[in-house]
Amino acid sequence: MAYEQNLVCFNTFGSDESWTLATYEKHGGYESWRKILAGDLNPGQIIDEVKASGLRGRGGAGFPTGLKWSFMPRDAKVQKYLVCNSDESEPGTCHDREVLRYNPHALVEGMAIAAYAMGATVAYNYIRGEFMDEPVPRFEAAVKEAYDAGLLGHDIQGSGIDFDLHTFVGAGAYICGEETALLESLEGKQGRPRFKPPFPAGFGLYGKPTTINNTQSLASVPSIIRNGAAWFAGLGPEGSGGTALFSVSGHVEKPGNYELPMGIPFKDLLDDICGGMLGGRKLKAVIPGGSSCKVLPAEIIMDCTMDYNSLQQAGSSFGTGAVMVMDETTCMVKVLRRISRFYMAESCGQCTPCREGTGWLYRMLSRIIDGKGEEADLQKLVDVANKIEGHTICALGDAAAWPVQSFLKHFHHEFEYMVRNNGRSIVDNATQVAA
């Protein structure tokens, strides 16, 4: 089946200099913002429209965006802030980088609309530090173009609307993708998640009401306002409105970032869009939404559609849309150890279960790979994961636990084989070992 691509966040892709204001405007860019500046839309209407569109937070949690916006205090006469989370760090995820590099104006316009809807006059785009060479200058150039065109600033085009947009550049820390850690970092501190409540809508940046949204979520907003909530909602199935940016990586013929309607069957994504499995090998497993999501074996994922409900029913989640594909030559024990190393390295250290537990997980997995594992270690891994899950301030602890639980649930035999064979992997007999 053919799927229409690049309908929302990537809508300028394929045009020359897709990142410029001129190109963006040729694709309907700033029509929504100009309508707002002309006084044709009020904040309540915008929030209702985004609610009706079914847009859910694309940063991984999937929280309804319009509902989040409605949590901001309406009439408070205090400074309010909008913050965009461009700290794209979830392993496997690399599509926000494409929005920043190739369609940054969609984000600028989306931020302007969101800020107006919530009464925020100042916004920051927190971009991960590693993006300083290319995505940051691209985004900053777009912001400058928008200011020069009179689309941002004070009393914009005589509308009485003020909106200032600034870039912030991070310095390397996965935890800063957690929204309250991001705020701490923006205040110039270590990125340690805050205990909640209070939530950012009440006490956010500098203690002021703040909403944090993901890059893709915000870049989707201009199209929703321009084409209507019903159009966006109708692109995907019930509960998963719109398109999603899929970062497909690993053992496929054509890895890439693809914008597709929500609800595309996994097998179509794999075969029609990504050219099938690398070298025609057999699919073993897929992590469907970044490394914090539970792994699904081939026989389950092949029956899934790529949306919130289907992946949740299958025992995983949509996450960030980062689809990591693993073929039959992949050693699941080694993949899990790599994932566990990541959470150990990135734990901020303030909650004991996470700080200590992530290290235990990594060291136990290393012991198994070194041929010194015991059968009791397999249950112990799950026990440690269970003791981290739900016992920490932020979701990093859960994200460290879920891969362990799901790898051991679906691929227990590979761990058992390695323990019984002194560190030998079950895939060692395969002709080519990929991992």
């Binding site: 060479d133 310095a171 501190k189 890439g256 990929a434």
Partner: protein, 161 residues
Amino acid sequence: MSYVLTDHVKDEIEHWKSRFPEGRQRSAVISALHAVQHENHGYLTAEQMNAVAEYLDLPTIQVYEVATFYSMFQTREVGRNEVAICTNVSCMLRGADDIVDHVEQKLGTKLGQSTEDGRVFLKQEEECIAACCGAPVMMVNHKYYENLTKEQVDEILDGLD
């Protein structure tokens, strides 16, 4: 020994400070550290951090704790060209470990160490840098190189000054 911030660094810090409300200059710490580290060819000294603290009127601990928390800051002397190879899952599935072995052998150094001549700092195992569809990936002096082969790696490394 004290360190004096250059005019370029001061301009850079002022540029960032102007983005934050009055009295919130602490928000400029990360950008200030990026700027001074860049001038010092890839790492921060205590004197530099003290100078940043003094310029922003902050206790030195507030600068040290940021410098030691974020992975892009180095607080010990390292080689002048930073090479960071991603080894997270997407890159691992596409051969990142072979790239690491190759680079370690070629440079005669290990992850986390610098070459003896101070030319290259091979950064400790790098986490996902969000270019997964171009795996395997490495970052050299902040520039991304994707779909790496050993030949390309050789060419990139040989081109470093």
